[in-house]
Symmetry: C2
Subunit: 103 residues, 2 copies
DNA sequence: TAAATATATGTCATATCTGACATATACGCA
DNA sequence: TGCGTATATGTCAGATATGACATATATTTA
């Protein structure tokens, strides 16, 4: 996949028009990235709601603080698998995950 | 993660009690696997509805027939990322994906 | 303000996922 | 039955994701 495009995408809040057309993403690519970003944002929301630090979450999911940071900032190196597993580890229900996806 | 457990899980239709307790999975593991299996089954459903062969789907997602077979049989070697991307490539909406997840 | 705490970024060796290939099995249908 | 077509399974080299670490940058607290 296209790491560079996604990296760019995550940084520009100043765009004119959609980032999708700016970067020339296909519909699938755009949807996929959008999905990941939504779930990442949700993960951060859930963690902070639970008043956990990134270090604490890292312990729970048996990872590291740096990876949690990457999870939450939508770093292109993180997989949907890890995002979903982290959400599940925090007790997020399937219904909530579904809600986030279709929102 | 635990490939062997999942591999077992996918084969036994004859279990007594839940596979989860039989295999000693944690709640997160069980939910995660269940999620993947649901989405895999959905992918197969969508493909056959569209009257596509595995070879044709493989072309669309730029993969191979064998990987498509693995996608659809819930092989432990396939990621959620690939399942989701395949569904998106077939035009499945986020709403539909969400429905599958919370079903 | 400074120090403490939390989060972000960069890098890397290793683990896991990937497409591709060979080959096996299943399912028609003549 | 055998033959054509579709799907499943096994393997592997190369690609991508991973946890861990160092370190930079925010953010909070005294």
């Amino acid at each position: 996949m296209n790491k560079e495009k996604q990296k760019k995408l995550e940084k520009n809040g100043w765009k004119i028009g959609t980032t999708k057309e700016f970067l020339g993403l296909t519909d699938e690519e755009a949807s996929y990235i959008e999905l990941k970003l939504k779930l990442s944002a949700n993960l951060k929301r859930v963690r902070t709601e639970r008043k956990l630090t990134q270090v604490e979450l890292a312990r729970i999911i048996k990872s590291s603080q740096s990876r949690v940071a990457k999870l939450e900032t939508g770093d292109p190196s993180v997989s949907l698998d890890l995002i979903i597993r982290s959400l599940l580890a925090l007790g997020t229900s399937k219904k909530d995950i579904a809600r986030t996806i279709s929102s």
